[in-house]
Symmetry: C2
Subunit: 328 residues, 2 copies
């Protein structure tokens, strides 16, 4: 199938999930709980996680229809993490909308995040027959690891000694695990074999890592209008991105001093951003990062070799390239 | 069996749960997530919810051993609600210890609460065979209703027009549902019949309501040292307790004005507490509340008629009286 065909399927499936997410909140009381939960859940997003559930089910011979509730569950869960993370990061905006804790208050944000977790389990269970109870265990394991990832992220923020290993462990748990779980759940509910389930989980883990590292890169090389935030925002916040850690790994002399100052001061000022971009360029950080993204993308591609050829598989391959050529 | 025999069983089972809860956190990383989660979970408490799981299993012919993980799950879940509620209530102390958001910070409290939810599911699943997947649905339903209850509580806090019905809906969801679910899960995992499961759930719902209304009463008639907080603390905070709502329902003239001022100002000052206690006494609020507690206790007692006689059933009956004669 052609690229435009895949885009159309993506849009169609995304619209189905939007409708289903809307209906989750219809008629629920009290509004003090469900209005904010609906507000974040209906604020868009790429719905990549739900697409992964669906394509994984299909790629192993299942039907989209078997996993719509599980797809909704993954998105609700993802939104729960956004609501709580935004409180912790004191973020003002999310998907160009005011965050829940700013629009309402922190208590409302805490509670609607909790409510979204519960709804996520409720929807997941709708697609679980008794033979698939281990899908609930997978989902729970994901929740545990996402919490761990968020904690590792906070630890990394406050730490002055760190390595790429720390970073990779953190983004694996914080970001990749949920994609992995989306594919695992889709493949299990779709009736896949153990080998297929593992292959799809491996695929998702690798696109998760590629995705997150690319996110770090877009912060510096992306277009301000497309990424929806200031170029270099991560540098201002003192975030330990792939690029910063890589730079620290290879820089010497003056550059190393500048980088250590960044760590000590937990960030730089806006006027220092061009200097950092320039330094990264000279150190070859962008090339190294680019090849890291390609490495994980290729691993994702290779993981699919155990999956029989099908349109769904082709679309999973297409998705890798979509994520890599993305601008936001 | 005698009272002292039941006390011994209670202490023995509580000790088993304490040991199991301690082992939940052993070796888990990162400590930034699990240390605060362990701190609250190991801070004691009556462990009534885990006892209900165990006794319900036993009362329908199951074994304690079948439900230890589910018992741990219920306690972990309960602790999650305490951590998040304490943030929302800006509480300084819990079980005579500094609350997590005060000892660490709000972000740590949010995240360790989330982590506890995930661990609760993980432990629940350990006791669920594939035939018991609906136990996970019950647990999820409890989580949904507990969140709703907390939201109703916040709504009630800010509302100037309210009824005993609003109050009962709130305490049902916020408190009684989890006790109900403890018994339901215990009875299901213990292999109980539908009739037995419903009977035990009904029992727990009623002790939950009795328990909460008594909590409101202890705030005014309890001993400061035993309840571990100031007598009349609920009045200072402007909480809409059973007693306040009952008083508003029956008071006239001057008393009604005083009560409306309480609602408008969201509480009273310390020197006004004796006046309120006096007013409640004159209005017969304490007697009415007492008979309400007895009504729910009797309902709990009656619910047990569908459960065959056994030591476990006798202990469930004993538990009703323990809760009613409690001083804290």
């Amino acid at each position: 199938m052609s690229d435009s065909k895949f885009s159309k399927i993506y849009e169609k499936q995304r619209a189905i999930i939007e409708t289903r997410i809307n209906s989750v909140f219809s008629g629920l009381q009290p509004t003090s709980l469900y209005e904010p939960a609906a507000y974040i859940s209906q604020s868009g997003g790429k719905r990549i996680r739900s697409l992964l559930v669906q394509l994984s089910a299909k790629a192993v011979g299942g039907k989209f229809n078997d996993v719509y509730n599980a797809s909704v569950a993954i998105e609700l869960f993802h939104n729960f993490t956004l609501v709580h993370d935004d409180i912790m990061d004191n973020a003002d905006k999310r998907r160009n909308l005011v965050t829940i804790h700013k629009k309402y208050d922190i208590n409302t944000a805490i509670l609607s995040g909790d409510g979204l977790t519960a709804l996520a389990y409720q929807y997941l269970l709708k697609d679980c027959k008794s033979k698939n109870i281990d899908v609930v265990a997978d989902f729970t394991q994901a929740m545990i690891e996402v919490c761990e990832g968020q904690s590792y992220d906070k630890d990394l923020e406050n730490s002055t000694v760190f390595s790429l290993e720390d970073y990779l462990l953190m983004i694996h748990k914080k970001t990749a695990v949920l994609l992995e779980t989306a594919c695992k759940i889709g493949a299990k509910l779709g009736g896949g074999s153990k080998k297929q389930i593992n292959a799809l989980a491996e695929y998702a883990k690798n696109i998760g890592l590629a995705f997150q590292i690319q996110d770090d890169m877009l912060d510096l090389l992306g277009d301000e209008n497309e990424i929806g935030k200031k170029v270099g925002g991560d540098l201002l916040e003192g975030k330990k991105t792939y690029l910063i850690i890589k730079a620290i790994e290879i820089a010497k002399g003056k550059n190393q001093q500048i980088l250590q100052k960044f760590v000590k001061n937990k960030g730089i000022t806006e006027d220092e951003i061009p200097e950092f971009i320039n330094m990264f360029r000279k150190l070859g950080v962008f090339e190294t990062t680019e090849s890291e993204i390609i490495k994980y993308s290729q691993k994702a591609e290779e993981s699919l070799k155990n999956i029989p050829e099908s349109d769904a598989k082709a679309m999973l391959q297409w998705l890798i390239h979509q994520l890599i050529k993305r601008k936001n």
